[in-house]
């Protein structure tokens, strides 16, 4: 009898394992399917690892040669483009519609700079995109509020070559139309003086959260800096450099009157909107 009970219990356990195994069928309700996707961290890690072990298989081959920067700039928006450059900066990784995505700043050795918007990749591929590594990307040229970028990426691949660009000093171009030619580049602003900015209670402070002071810790930081008698508003994009980043912490230590050098990427939003990534000692 004991044996019979043990056998039955063993059988029950086996059946339980089978029943919980998620054998897919057409009648599986959506919620179950979603549960299946939200695997524990360990399982997710395994999935990521297995993708990474075979990077060649996931890398599509882009047969076309990359355009040079001049041809890229001359191309009309909504046309297909192939560009190549080395990674200079990357925004954080997130999953959207079951697809990991990342936005990347690329630069080539001939002065070309590209913003790649929502490049589809796995988390591990994102980790492999170290600063300096080169990728080739096929997508569509687009313009959003003045920002020229590559979107709807069809394919991309790592290619040989490493390059880390020196930040270009564009301080003298601030306030001029010529600054647009430096869009998406890694740039440097020298001798910038921290000016007051109004917080939500109309007090003069060195920085605020959100453009009007309505935000809190974790939101974008905004601060005013001046050079040659002109004041400009710069941003620390929380998406690019979050509250744990050195630059985010550094800006929170700013004092009105500090003179600093700033490094960042020349993003565009209805005009220059530099996304600052580092403060350099004066």
């Amino acid at each position: 009898m004991k044996k019979a009970i043990v056998i039955m219990l063993t059988g029950a356990m086996m059946l339980a394992a089978v029943a919980c195994g998620g054998g897919s069928s057409n009648s599986t309700p959506a919620q179950e399917s979603k549960t299946e996707e939200a695997k524990p961290a360990e399982e997710t890690q395994e999935t990521v690892e297995s993708t990474v072990e075979e990077p060649e298989q996931t890398e599509p081959n882009i047969s076309e040669d990359a355009m040079n920067f001049e041809d890229y700039m001359a191309a009309a928006t909504d046309t297909e483009v192939v560009v190549q450059g080395s990674i200079q900066g990357k925004q954080n990784y997130f999953v959207k519609d079951d697809q990991g995505k990342a936005s990347i700043y690329l630069q080539d050795q001939n002065g070309g700079a590209y913003f790649i918007y929502e490049l589809p990749c796995t988390e591990k591929e994102y980790e492999l995109m170290e600063i300096g590594k080169t990728i080739k990307v096929k997508g569509y040229k687009s313009e959003w509020s003045g920002e020229i970028e590559v979107i709807d990426i069809e394919t991309w691949m790592f290619v040989d070559g490493d390059y880390i660009a020196e930040a270009e000093d564009v301080t003298a171009l601030l306030g001029t139309d010529d600054l647009a030619a430096k869009m998406n580049k890694k740039v440097l602003f020298k001798g910038m003086k921290v000016e007051p900015i109004k917080d939500k209670d109309n007090n003069d402070v060195a920085f605020i959260y959100n453009y009007d002071g309505s935000g809190t810790e974790g939101d974008d930081l905004y601060f005013n800096v001046s050079v040659n008698g002109q004041t400009y508003t710069f941003t620390v994009e929380s998406y690019l450099c979050g509250p744990d980043s050195d630059i985010y912490k550094a800006v929170k230590d700013f004092h009105i009157g500090d003179v600093i050098d700033l490094e960042g990427f020349l993003y565009w939003y209805n005009g220059p909107n530099p996304h600052i990534t580092a403060v350099l000692a004066q």
Partner: protein, 532 residues
Amino acid sequence: MRPFRKTAVFAAACILAGTLLTGCHGSKGRAEFAVPEQLDESQKIELSFWAKNDTNKTQTKIYEKAISDFELLYPNIDVNMRLYTDYGKIYNDVITNISTNTTPNVCITYPDHIATYMTGDNVVVPLDSLIGDAKYGLAGSELKFDGPSKDEVVPQFLSECSIGGTTYALPYMRSTEACYVNKTFVEKLGYELPDVLTWDFVWEVSEAAMAKDADGNFAVNGQKVMIPFIDKSTDNMMIQMLKERDAGYSTDEGEVLLFNDTTREILKTVAEHAKTGAFSTFKISSYPANFLDAGQCIFAIDSTAGATWMGSHAPLSDISKDKFVEFETEVKMFPQYDPANPRMISQGPSVCIFNKEDPQVVLASWLFAQYLISNDVQIAYAQTEGYVPVTTKAMEAEAYQDYLSRMGEDNDLHYDVKIKASKLLIDNVQHTFVTPVFNGSTSLRDAAGQLIEDVTKSVRRKKTVDDAYLDALFDDVTALYRLDQTTGMGSGSKEDMGPLPTASKALIATLVVTWILIGIYYVMMKQKSAKK
């Protein structure tokens, strides 16, 4: 500057991530909440309140004032606010915190999201018994503030917070989609602006605005840029158009009806006008307000909650002052197919409360949620944008009526475009509608917008939008948003899981047999020991 488009993208990502996480939070069931007899004012209670502002410092200050005023009335209750700038992040954080029983006490949210929160047992507090409580309910006898009665909450707005016949939230603010029109350009093109915009009118004027002069500039504005018609929210656009046509979107139970012949017809029309450049979207071009204010757009569709960004004298703007052009702005209802029978989508945040072990904490949460719909908060917050208070008590209050009557006195508090936007909704509450709420309704909404975005992009890239294209698009969007898996997930109801799988049936049978064997074995052992 307004939040970068990452907000929209991140919101979508968060919503999706949250949806995926929902399944694994398990159902750590709590006991159902029962209203305590009395609020224990000797008990120190700390509440967390997760709120959203439109990147608007005045809204932040109103929340802060509401909290301090409430704490003065109830000294034993402290409210800690956590501010967000988009609903997607709130949603994601709530979902994450359900699993650890660390949800906020009070939360600004949407009914669509609440439907997902409710997949846990007793996570969100049903409000009907609280609303009707004689002491602490709406206008209850023990309240320390002058709150609205149930009859004073606009019935349509309150009904929007009902899921499966139970009220799970209080409406907090209401808005709708409006069309902000450059009337000056419409007239310059030789047209007269009608009281109610029709689709035929909007498309015709938009195409007329594409004419260029000999220098290659658009004739109507003399600039190189003109996108006559831009829609901020393409999901709302598709939902509106389908509702106006009485076409399918979804059933109340969650059956997807989006992919129908009317949808095809709408998408072909959209493609026609996107091809000429007369129509674009926020995701493709940018905020409609940026183009409208610069004289580069004639019909800008956006929420009434974005009214302060619209017009020649908009108090908030992302473009530099030198780019503004002077024109007369009109605020009109969303374009209609049948102007005699207009339809307007109702939207705007609501406030829900989360269940906790201590009923005193839940009662305190309810009091604070209720305080948010008292006149002081409602009137102040509604004035920050083209919002509308959710109570007739606030709408009819002297202070609010005075505010409305001073339309155009200045370009700040009394900015005319903002007050026109509020009046648009106030005057048309009877024409408002909402879409069914069910677990999965957020995905369906995203899918509706995706159809318009994809069609618009495709024609800009010289692709042909025909029935074959639409067949493939419908399949792609169905798969992307898993719409083939949402069918039947009705409003908070438990879906039919279908017959048990064979393995499960076998498991149950085995367990039954095992218990029988254990029982027989037990009886045999008893008999054996009795014989001894």
